[in-house]
Amino acid sequence: MKTIQKIAGLLLISLFTIGTLSAQGYKVGDAATDFKLKGVDNKMVSLENHKDAKGFIVIFTCNHCPYSIAYEDRIIALDKKYSPLGYPVVAINPNDPALEPKDSFELMIKRAKEKGFTFPYLFDDGQKIFPQYGATKTPHVFILKKEGAKNIVKYIGAIDDNYKNAADVSKKYVEDAVDALLANREVEVKTTVAIGCSIKVKK
């Protein structure tokens, strides 16, 4: 009996491992997929539409998550600073609104208006895009740099090292990475991790 339990347990664990592996998504250096997603202005947005961009600050974020909310003003500031320099913010809500009603498209429109989002806020309808990137939580940042026809992943992780208090940030991971890319330097810190809200997907 005990053996059967152990075998069952091992099977279960291997299932988890397979699940984790398939959810790995991009690594730094990979070419990121383009997408065609609807924004809060009801227009479809793709990376290829941004002819003048040098790259993108793609941020998986949402309405409901306290970490996302804590970063809203900083995401607006990132777009205001880096969009004119060729690195606009593209925000994508990856959550299934059936599981998190606060993340519905209608409420995305409302939130974008309330906060005055300066960047596209897109809905990953059908949840096809976030798994390809390997986003696991909100907020989760992927900085892409245009290299020829490709968008190469240069940084994956957090915005900075203090979600709670913008005035007490010591490491501005995203700004440092984009600054390096703009100066044609290697990004020093290529990946970081921070606590975030898990992306809501039906099991």
């Binding site: 339990q5 696991t136 090292d161 991790v193 921070a194 606590i195 975030g196 809200c197």
Partner: protein, 180 residues
């Protein structure tokens, strides 16, 4: 918050209490009085303070669940954790710990009230080490991207399993059985 008090959850709590009675087991918890969760203690620690709690060389399987009161899937899986804990807490080689990632100032308010209301009768810690997330998250498990819920299974300071996802009652119990 209202959605937490569902007939389903109520049933789980009842089952949990029932299993306490059937097993007639006593908690080996030292900081929380078994059966009495009138005033749960939420100990606020940094990562350096948390590590010794579950890395003891005592052949005990520590089930360490990272959660937060604002995290819906975390709160939804906690009744499963309590039900399973009810079955195993009499085993001296087993111990469950909850680590809240809420803001530290919520330890004695929101978090304590949650623990009380959901009858989370295990040892509670609140990990307050925001600026070092990029250090302690990979230290807990190098595969952890930082989403919660997440659960670490660890014995004698050696990590046996890490799950960055919700666990059903069956999943949780089979992992515990495997490592006990």
């Amino acid at each position: 918050m209202k959605s937490l008090i569902t007939p389903y959850n109520f049933l789980l709590f009842t089952l949990t209490l029932f299993s306490f009675t059937v097993n007639g087991q006593q908690s080996n918890s030292t900081t929380v009085n078994p059966g009495s969760i009138a005033d749960p203690v939420i100990k606020v620690v940094d990562y350096g303070g948390l590590i010794p709690v579950y890395t003891k060389q005592n052949d005990t399987l520590y089930v360490v669940n990272f959660w937060a009161t604002w995290c819906r899937p975390c709160v939804e899986e906690l009744p499963h954790f309590m039900a399973v804990d009810g079955k195993y807490r009499g085993n001296k080689k087993y111990k469950m710990i909850l680590v809240s990632l809420d803001d530290a100032e919520k330890a004695n308010g929101t978090v304590k009230n949650f623990a009380k209301r959901l009858k989370l009768d295990v040892d509670h810690y609140l990990l307050d080490d925001i600026k070092k997330m990029n250090e302690w998250i990979p230290s807990v498990d190098k595969s952890w991207s930082g989403s919660i819920p997440a659960t670490l299974f660890i014995k004698n300071g050696k990590s046996l399993q890490f799950v960055e996802n919700s666990l059903s009652m069956d999943e949780l119990e089979s992992i515990i059985k495997l490592h006990l």
